[in-house]
Symmetry: C2
Subunit: 366 residues, 2 copies
């Protein structure tokens, strides 16, 4: 038996810039044409973005090929939609010299990023996030994915964008509940990584709720800095990147168990409270810190308890199916202080007994 | 406007071994369990492989989860099949700690590799190619892809396997036409990269047609060495890797225009003749070399002309949609000598007038 070795060289680093501003959307197309003159651009967006005029602001009167996801939202986040995006590009003779321009929230970014990752084995993509969730979280880090009939993000790829453009002025047209729920990702970033950011959120919460551009730009800068720092250390989620899942293990399960009646941010708010209850039991909690966290979440009108009617067993069952589960039980991310994720025994995610999780869910149901 | 930079570090190199032997299939599962003990293995194969007993030889009496593509062949190479593979894995609770084991020809390898690339953002894959095409070409190099309703490999990813296992004894059960057509990839490798390999093929063509194991192992070694050398230099096809497309631009178009009545190797045989006709017109041809090439292809019973009834305009239209097309026209790979791809002006693929391609298609239609 003979043996050969194929030596695939390491790929070049995949660095990319994030541009943050207010009222910048109308200038982005010019930037793209300047920075990527040889690439044919294809816009992926959704019906909401079109309705509120952002597509027009981005492309003006230019003739641009595009795909408008309709209906907007998680319900369209399927492989069928990705196939439609790719086939639209094919019909317009797009080749490998293409750039997908994703304008929208997390689901648009996920689908456009995944379409770019698999179209003709990969074309370039740029993200222009327009929601609080996407600007804080999903546009940075290169995770893309769509749901199967069985689970969320069953299909996906790690695929970095060429650039991210954040215009905080686009948040003005966002539905108020969506807006506030998306800010929970900012609270999460502050809790796992930066106590000063948490102080800033507490002090400026009214300006945040009033959507003051200067404050929103600061939030965007803080969010992207924290997320970028984590992703740089661990792009494909081998260890440290897991801290971004703070509040998300219980959060995802509660969100799914509610059949997505709860918004992602609402569910993560409950998950964060859950993580703090667990921390208390394990000796990493602090009553005063817990009060501050609950107050900040309440000032965003986020729920702190599981709504009545959600089945505890169903939540447990979904936790078992968590993507990061090993032997049918995931590890949990905790904090030991505001701004500091708990790091023990070389791990950022920790074993927590199923019994303690059940007790925590009971407390969350009061 | 603020600007941040996300620095994604370069990924580690993606080297992998290719094991070549004869009658080795029954031992591969043990190797996999030894080398990858922690990964749950999922077999992707097709109905032909199952019928001729190779699946049984690979897994023995072990209980192994699998997906059998049925019907076998290009007709199943769709995104729907990939979705079915992924959903089968989900139903069996496969997680990120999975390994896809691809047993079969090029289409099995393509689909299994693509499914592995996009399942939960990527799990590991091993290739066990069982056809002349797959052993010579598609199992090495990490190209994966499936067809859309509009074009071949519209969806895909560059995704390297963990290992490749070639058992030339599996070729014995291969249909004779398939077997011979697959050898065209060997002829291609010899033409672009190694004159000695071409000599060897000419001298040993009867032993090759008789499927003598020792000779087949040599072919496998030669093919993998040439392909690995090209892929190592250019894993994501920025430039040099294009030489592997020798004969494939016209070949793919003719194959598609025939609605896949022509086998891939048959179409590439016509494409190689086309490339030599173009080389003659551009002053890089040689009458004696052309005769040797045609003789070798004929000894494999491969066609040298486009079959009657294929529409030239349709072929031209498909060439325009070629994945490598820029401004609706691809560049063409040519050779300047046996064993030597043409390299001019820093390029391995060359501008050829649409008019010359039309004339070439006319000559090929005689």
């Amino acid at each position: 038996m003979n043996k050969l070795k194929v030596k695939i060289p390491a790929t070049a680093d995949g660095s990319y810039p994030i541009h943050i501003g207010s009222g910048t959307l109308s200038g982005i197309w010019g930037e793209l044409e300047k920075d990527f003159p040889k690439l044919r651009k294809f816009v992926v967006t959704d019906s909401n973005l079109k309705k509120c005029g952002h597509v027009k602001t981005l492309i003006g009167d230019k003739k641009v090929c595009s795909y408008v996801i309709d209906p907007a939202g998680e319900v369209s986040k399927t492989i069928e939609t990705v196939v439609k995006i790719v086939e639209s590009m094919e019909k317009e003779f797009f080749g490998r010299d293409s750039m997908v321009v994703a304008l929208g929230g997390g689901t648009v970014g996920d689908m456009a990023g995944f379409a770019a990752a698999i179209f003709k084995r990969g074309v370039k993509v740029v993200q222009i996030p327009t929601t609080t969730v996407a600007q804080a979280d999903s546009s940075v880090g290169g995770k893309t994915g769509v749901d199967s009939t069985i689970s969320k993000n069953a299909f996906g790829a790690f695929y970095m964008p060429e650039a991210v453009y954040i215009d905080v002025a686009t948040l003005k047209t966002l539905d108020d509940v969506q807006y506030r729920a998306g800010l929970v990702e900012s609270v999460k970033h502050a809790l796992i990584a930066d106590a000063k950011y948490f102080d800033f959120l507490e002090k400026n919460i009214q300006a945040v709720l009033d959507k003051e551009p200067a404050v929103l730009e600061k939030l965007a800068f803080w969010n992207c800095t924290i997320k970028a720092n984590v992703v740089e250390n661990d792009p494909t989620e081998k260890n440290m990147r897991r801290i971004l899942n703070f509040g998300h293990t219980i959060g995802h399960a509660v969100e799914s168990a509610s059949n997505f009646d709860l918004l992602h941010g609402e569910a993560v708010s409950i998950g964060i409270v859950g993580a703090e209850l667990i921390a208390q039991e394990l000796g990493f909690g602090d009553e005063k810190r817990f009060e501050r966290i609950k107050n900040l979440l309440e000032s965003l009108s986020m729920p702190l308890c599981i709504p009545k009617g959600l089945d505890k067993e169903k939540i447990i069952d979904i936790i078992k199916r968590d993507k990061k589960a090993v032997d049918l039980w995931p590890n949990f991310v905790l904090i030991e202080d505001i701004g500091k994720a708990l790091f023990r025994d070389g791990q950022w995610a920790h074993k927590v007994d199923k019994k303690l999780i059940e007790e925590t869910l009971d407390k969350l149901t009061d």
